[in-house]
């Protein structure tokens, strides 16, 4: 099935996501650049995203909201830092308050996306997300965007056993 490789670096609060798509880079880029396509994958179930503004330029602003099962709305935004279609996108992703203004009390993450051709038919997307640990990570969890968080002792042991 779809292979997603995810590496977690607890020390640096960093997540590295790699995946190979059977499509050219331009097609993978569209997933980010076309707001209608973006809203089909951005929001986790059952929180579909609706993109409101989508200015994918350096210093541009993307705004969206996610609608929960009770009709509850969660607003978010991207501050676009770098854009080089179809290969590179750097953005800061954060939550917004009811008025759509960045909510400084909630965590942001800096996400760097690299899209590169692997061969004639395949494209590799590498995404590095660094979480702003000075912010309130717990609140994201408290918002209930994920059902049940599993923590495995074995994973921690493996992490600690690395060195």
């Amino acid at each position: 099935m779809s292979a997603v490789d995810i590496t977690k670096d607890l020390e640096h609060a960093t997540l590295v996501v790699t995946s190979v798509f059977p499509a050219p880079p331009e097609r993978v880029w569209q997933l980010w650049a076309d707001p209608r396509q973006l809203e089909r994958w951005w929001g986790p179930e059952p929180y579909p995203a609706t993109v409101v503004d989508h200015d994918l330029r350096s210093d541009g602003h993307v705004s969206y909201y996610m609608t929960g099962p009770e009709g509850d709305q969660h607003k978010g935004y991207w501050r676009v830092l770098e854009v080089e279609p179809p290969t590179r996108l750097v953005l800061v992703d954060g939550f917004a308050d009811a008025d759509g203004e960045p909510d400084d009390d909630l965590p942001t993450s800096r996400t760097e996306v690299t899209i590169e051709p692997l061969d004639d038919t395949r494209t590799r997307m590498t995404l590095t997300s660094i979480y702003d640990t000075t912010a309130e990570l717990e609140q994201v969890l408290a918002m209930g965007m994920e059902e049940g968080i599993r923590t495995a002792v074995g994973q921690i042991d493996a992490l600690l056993a690395e060195d």
Partner: protein, 124 residues
């Protein structure tokens, strides 16, 4: 929900883990039978400096000090570590879902528009 990591804790935990010496202390304290002076031995720094590192880990809820007889020993708090892990686990699941949905979207491109129609080349 499952994880309980307050804002200050998240900050303290990731701050504490950002230092190589503290990560090493965390590993060595897993046995739970070393005092601060024993923990300090391998490092080319003063006892006071190591004591400071231990204090940072303690504030982050990653180690605890407890009495073992007349000694005070340092023990890694596995629950504290697990909490920190849970935050990243959450993001991992979020991104796993996103990339899977990306694949689904691209998969829709690949679907033939008229699957039942025979290939005209072949028919000729």
């Amino acid at each position: 929900m499952g994880a309980t990591l307050t804002d200050e804790r998240a900050d303290a935990v990731f701050g504490a883990l950002a230092d190589a010496t503290r990560r090493d202390i965390l590993l060595r304290a897993m046995g739970g039978d070393l005092g601060v002076s024993e923990l300090a031995q391998p490092y080319p720094m003063s006892f006071a400096a190591v004591q400071k590192h231990v204090a940072v880990l303690e504030r982050a809820g990653l180690v605890r000090k407890r009495a073992a007889g007349r000694r005070r020993v340092v023990t890694t708090d596995m629950d504290g570590l697990r909490d920190a892990r849970a935050v990243l686990d959450h993001y991992e699941e979020l991104w796993r879902g996103r990339v899977e949905r990306m694949h689904q979207l691209l998969g829709e491109d690949a679907l033939p528009s008229r699957p039942d129609e025979p290939d005209p080349e072949e028919r000729a």
